[in-house]
């Protein structure tokens, strides 16, 4: 990190000084400039609007993501003095930023070839993915409710567009409309919750809220705060797709272009969960008596319901959508477990989940062709025999999603279970294990179909495959999924440190009743 220190990075940030915001927001700044650059380069390259973009655009996009990741390393070991700035400066943010960047990079990588085939190879796609990633970083890294809201919208608006990106496909447009209406509806709830919390506590700063609730001073607005927490929970529940707020998920995931589905089920979910942790597990931690029972039921219903419905799905893409809802339930268990182990298990699992889910969608893309998605279970019959590499990779991702030993998913679930038992949520741990057992059935069914059943016809799988860059990304994801089992201690130690930094916030009680962080 001496590189950034040599550039003049201070050791401790004082967010009362504007110039220090530059360092605190370095990755976001790099990403914003990069996204604009992608848009401009795309326009310069194209002579005509209808022309497809050059192949250099995805490469440039990946370069921008790499530059952002580099800028993100500038945040390693950085602290801030007062913790009441708009943006969090802690290891948790650094870790989750990497998760979003991995999700975005995998999305771009597996979209290569797919976009050309569907005739939607446009630079806007890549720029929108970058802007959505920016929104994720702002949402997951904010330390102020209003900032969380802005981040949420910066993330969601590009995703609404991306879901409907294939304008010629009625399914894509329809999914986009459904996602947009329910997404905007849920943002309304989230925002109203913010307003009520603001009224009850007198500030939207998360650190300040945590301190106010922690001191136990009677702020005299118990009911207002309760209503605010409930509405915030509804809004976040929609975004993380927990049952009963999941109605939009299967439709939106199914209709969206597959790389966008991959991004939605990984990056968007990770960002919503990061905000969930910051708001509920940190800021509202001392009001746990009110929200923990509610989230307990959310987690239980999500795990059981999603896994049962996933059993009935005939489409692999839709099955993965329900699987992603089920994983939201597992992540809620980690969140409820509380303490540092819970947060560390959460971080580890979100990383593992991102890699394996994006990889699985990569295989779904490999199996699609010109003009047809080929997502039913039947379409996968014989894939494992005719295309051994695709079959093996898909098996690894599915086994990892199921939580089979020798994969990252197994270790992730183990960490969550440990945290749940330590955190006194043994019942949830039991539900998690039972729900996972159910999930084995539908994950293994795909593997069985791939290897045990003959293909629909001779040469059915002849065209399956990915271009080189996408193949490399899927292979890398495979390697990571396995490596995270054998060398799980390394990411886990990093996750633990990151989780610790979330708690070890400096907490000088602000002298003024409301830190007017906006006007400094």
């Amino acid at each position: 990190m001496s590189f950034f220190a040599a550039l003049g990075r201070p050791e401790v940030l004082d967010l009362a000084r504007q110039t220090h915001y530059f360092w605190a927001l370095l990755p976001e700044i790099v990403l914003t400039l990069g996204a604009m650059l992608v848009l401009i380069v795309d326009v310069i390259h194209k002579g005509d609007r209808s022309e497809p973009s050059r192949g250099s655009i995805p490469v440039l996009t990946l370069a921008v993501l790499a530059a952002t990741a580099l800028a993100n390393t500038a945040l390693f070991g950085l602290r801030d003095v007062s913790a009441n700035g708009m943006v969090a400066v802690d290891g948790f943010r650094t870790f989750t930023n990497f998760v979003y960047l991995v999700a975005a990079a995998l999305c771009i990588a597996i979209s290569m070839g797919y976009l050309e085939r569907r005739g939607i190879m446009k630079g806007e796609f890549h720029a929108l993915v970058l802007f959505a990633t920016l929104g994720m970083m702002l949402m997951g890294g904010s330390r102020d409710l209003i900032m969380t809201f802005i981040g949420l919208e910066v993330m969601s608006v590009p995703i609404y567009v991306l879901v409907g990106f294939d304008r010629m496909d009625p399914r894509s447009s329809e999914a986009s409309l459904k996602y947009f209406l329910l997404g905007a509806f849920s943002s309304g709830f989230f925002l109203y919750g913010i307003a009520l919390v603001f009224g009850a506590v007198g500030s939207t700063n998360l650190t300040y809220i945590a301190e106010t609730l922690g001191t136990g001073t009677d702020h005299g607005h118990e009911r207002l705060l309760m209503a605010g927490m409930a509405l915030t929970l509804v809004g976040l529940g929609f975004k993380v797709a927990a049952i009963p707020f999941h109605m939009w998920t299967p439709d939106a995931y199914d209709g969206a272009p597959t790389p966008v589905t991959a991004l939605m089920s990984t990056g968007v979910k990770a960002a919503a969960f990061a905000a969930f942790v910051r708001i509920f597990a940190v800021a509202f931690a001392d009001a746990g008596a009110q929200w923990v029972p509610v989230v307990w039921w959310l987690a239980a219903v999500t795990m059981v319901g999603a896994n049962l419905v996933a059993l009935t799905q005939g489409s692999v893409k839709r099955m993965l959508a329900y699987s992603s809802i089920a994983h939201a339930g597992y992540l809620l268990v980690a969140l409820l477990s509380g303490g540092d182990t819970g947060k560390a298990a959460f971080l580890f699992y979100i990383l593992a989940y991102t890699v394996m889910t994006a990889g699985a969608f990569g295989i779904v893309i490999a199996n699609s062709r010109d003009g047809e998605e080929r997502v039913t279970l039947e379409d996968y019959a014989g894939l494992g025999l005719e295309k051994p590499w695709l079959g093996a990779a898909f098996s690894i991702f599915l086994l990892s999603l199921a939580g089979f030993p020798l994969t990252a998913g197994f270790l992730g679930k183990l960490y969550i279970l440990r945290a749940a038992v330590e955190g006194g949520q043994a019942q949830l741990a039991v539900i998690l294990v039972l729900a996972s057992l159910v999930s084995y059935f539908y994950y293994l069914r795909v593997i069985v179909v791939m290897y045990m059943r003959p293909a629909r016809s001779e040469g059915w799988h002849a065209g399956a495959g990915l271009p080189l860059a996408a193949r490399t990304a899927v292979l890398a994801a495979c390697v990571v999924v396995v490596a995270m089992f054998f060398a799980g201690a390394v990411p886990m130690r990093w996750a633990e440190q990151s989780a610790l930094s979330l708690w070890r916030q400096p907490a000088p009680v602000a002298a003024s009743p409301a830190p007017a962080s906006l006007f400094r």
Binding site: I146, P170, L177, G188, A195, G255
Partner: protein
Amino acid sequence: MQQIPLEQALGLSALLFAIGAFGVVIRRNAIILFMCIELMLNAVNLAFVAFSPRSGVQGQVFVFFVIAVAAAEAAVGLAIIISVFRHKESVDIKNFSLLRW
């Protein structure tokens, strides 16, 4: 000048929000759904303004953020509705059944 009591302003805001949320649930026209959502956002703006004498001037500043975000959402939302209309010649969400479980 007499101030409006906080309870009344909040009551109005809650009422508007409820009307908007109720409208989203019962109406079936995408444009009207969208108008109901805008109504919900504006109810929140009212709540922010109502709280701001007590909780600080930030409340009024947040309103501007919300207005800006709502405008961006409106632009994207209407574009999406048009794109759906091109396929279906309708904006009635009853007719959208390509995707269902």
